[in-house]
């Protein structure tokens, strides 16, 4: 209840008309009677109170009824009484002196318009539909009259309300023509009344349009959620289930199982936590793709940490390829289960470190004819204005450090 009170809502419990005053009172933490009194006072300013009330009615969402609390019987009739009182009040206000019969007539016609609009309005309200659908207890005749299961009834009331409004408008225009006094004034008066009546009509159909719009929006949101769910289901089905089936078949081959599990973990992790980027465009994504490739082909775990990111250009591509070569070497020769790759994109420099804790080797012992290290790593980095440094101690593992100065922002 506290949350309902904090947000501005129409109250659906303990209301007199539409719960606007009660809702505002809840929000402001003042007695509902005070808010109602304010509306009544505003009503005397050319019916400003009624207009304001109507606007609030349209705009404010109804609070959800608290489960377990049953609506009191006879509330519907109380609300009808309030409607009648509203119409009567406007009628009286339209007849300050109560002198001229014509004025009296205009007042009646305006009241007619209001009641017609009220009927359309009333039935256009979403939570009333549900209420009446669940069977109008207490007032069977009213329930039958207002049952929304019956589409003809709905149409009848819409048309009926519309007819009332239109008749009212015509009546007002016709009657203003009879009023003695300048014909120009009568015309202006007529136009004014017609405008007010039209505004009334707009107000009357407003909630219906609003409700339709809200429904459309909800539907669209629901569809989007559904699509996401379907996409997720596709991933789970196509990949996870597939992998689990493979794991069951290869249960006796731990390397295979590890590789499958690792590949699956990577896919799901990327899908869940990482904004996907194209390996052709982003440095981090390119490095991830290279690491994934190495993981898959050598059945090892690449612990990849990337700090910062940048766009891919020739330099970056060369760096990623050199890093990939270093990872492949580690996978081939180091004899380890895990290698660490750390990459950092700084404004002036890109660096990648590929480290394993494997057997290591002696740099001096690498033959001149071996092109893997010299050509693919050191040579490639030098061609692109970078540097490659390989530190290896037999028994303590190897670290390949690749750095390249950035020529400028390629973003």
């Amino acid at each position: 209840m506290e949350t309902a009170a904090n947000k501005l809502h129409r109250r659906s419990e303990g209301r007199v008309l539409a719960g606007v005053a009660a809702g505002i009172a809840d929000h402001l933490r003042v007695p509902p009677l005070a808010v109602r009194a304010v509306f009544m006072v505003l009503l005397t300013f050319s019916g400003l109170g009624a207009v304001l009330y109507a606007v609030f009615w349209i705009v404010l969402p109804a609070s959800r009824p608290v489960a377990g609390i049953r609506r009191r019987k006879g509330r519907d009739s109380a609300q009808l009484v309030a409607f009648a009182a509203l119409a009567l009040g406007i009628l009286l206000l339209a007849n300050p002196g109560g002198a001229a019969g014509v004025r009296m007539l205009i007042g009646w016609v305006v009241a007619l318009v209001l009641v017609g609009a009220g009927i359309i309005w009333h039935q256009a309200e979403p939570d009333r539909w549900r209420q009446w659908n669940s069977g109008g207890q207490g007032m069977p005749w009213l329930a039958r009259f207002l049952t929304h299961n019956d589409r003809r009834m709905l149409l009848l009331r819409l048309v009926g309300g519309g007819v009332l409004v239109i008749v009212g408008i015509i009546g007002v225009i016709a009657l203003t023509g009879i009023i003695p006094g300048g014909s120009v004034l009568a015309l202006v008066n007529g136009a004014l009344f017609a405008l007010i009546a039209l505004a009334g009509l707009a107000l009357a159909t407003g909630p219906l349009l609003w409700k339709m719009w809200v429904q459309l929006r909800d539907e669209r949101e629901g569809r989007i959620r559904e699509t996401e769910r379907a996409e997720f289901a596709a991933i789970v089905h196509d990949q996870v289930l597939h992998t689990l089936a493979l794991v069951q078949r290869h249960a006796e081959d731990p390397k295979m199982v590890l590789r499958l599990a690792r590949g699956q973990e990577r896919t799901l992790r990327n899908w869940l936590y990482k904004p996907s980027g194209s390996p052709d465009e982003r440095f981090a994504a390119a490095l991830e793709a290279a690491a994934a490739e190495v993981e898959d082909s050598f059945t090892l775990v690449v612990d990849l940490v990337v700090v910062g990111d940048c766009a891919v250009d020739d330099q970056v591509r060369a760096l990623v390829q050199a890093a990939r070569e270093a990872m492949v070497n580690a996978g081939k020769h180091a004899g380890v289960d895990t290698i660490s790759v750390y990459a950092e994109a700084e404004p002036t420099e890109l660096s990648v470190f590929v480290r394993d804790r494997g057997v290591g080797f002696d740099m001096a012992g690498v033959g001149e004819d071996r092109h893997g290290v010299k050509g693919s790593i050191i040579g490639r980095m030098e061609r692109h204005g970078g540097r490659a440094e390989i530190r290896s101690t037999p028994g303590d593992g190897t670290e390949v450090r690749l750095t390249v100065k950035r020529r400028g922002e390629g973003e």
Partner: protein, 213 residues
């Protein structure tokens, strides 16, 4: 027997059972809980040395446990053990007061070692967490900060973090930088303290920059 008293919080019973089986020989697992409420109540009565805390749980997750327990038992140390390695989860938990963070794919030996180190007052950073921290502090290095001494990492701390992110162990870092292991631990603890003290505004800005929120 003065084995470490460890408490497990995770909403997956299977995972709790697995960790318990793995850790049981090395430390004294005194209890486990699968919900936030149960965890808070049990931790406050049992007062374990270290709580292994999952990040994602119903009813607010690890963070809710951390915040509720710290009000009553500030001495209990937390080690985040999560399957999620999303930066905002990890950094968020560290800021709330966890002393370290490891992923669930960690080997049992490493996990036991991490628990021991947290109990002794050290911070435990996985390479990935070190990467996140570097990222967090790097992106705001140009912006003016309220208290530079507090919010900025020193060059030395940055170096230590870089080596951590590259997969170096503490003793390897010490060798590489010609400092003692104790100094490395001090640097790491300082990073953690700075991370916790840096204000929320910076974190949210960082997260927004990286389209995390």
């Amino acid at each position: 027997m003065d084995a470490l008293r460890v408490f497990l919080v995770d909403d997956h019973a299977m995972f709790r059972a697995g960790v318990r089986a793995e850790l049981g020989k090395r430390v004294n697992v005194i209890g486990e809980a699968g919900t936030v409420a149960a965890a808070v109540a049990a931790i406050n009565t049992e007062k374990p040395d270290v709580v292994l805390l999952d990040v994602h749980m119903p009813d607010g997750g690890g963070r809710a446990v951390l915040e509720a327990v710290r009000r009553v038992s500030p001495d209990v140390k937390f080690l985040a053990l999560s399957v999620s390695d999303a930066a905002e989860d990890v950094i968020g938990l560290i800021r709330a007061g966890a002393r370290g963070y490891v992923t669930k794919t960690i080997s049992p030996d490493e996990l036991a070692d991490a628990v021991r180190r947290v109990a002794e007052g050290d911070a435990v950073f996985s390479p990935r967490l070190a990467g996140f921290v570097l990222d967090a502090f790097a992106s705001r290095s140009e912006a003016p900060v309220a208290d530079p001494e507090l919010d900025q990492l020193t060059n030395r701390e940055r170096e230590v973090l870089r080596l951590l992110a590259r997969g170096y162990a503490y003793k390897e870092i010490a060798k590489e930088l010609f400092i003692s292991i104790k100094t490395v631990e001090t640097h790491v603890s300082n990073v953690l303290r700075k991370l916790q003290m840096s204000n929320r505004y910076e974190l949210s800005r960082w997260a927004a920059d990286r389209r995390l929120v």
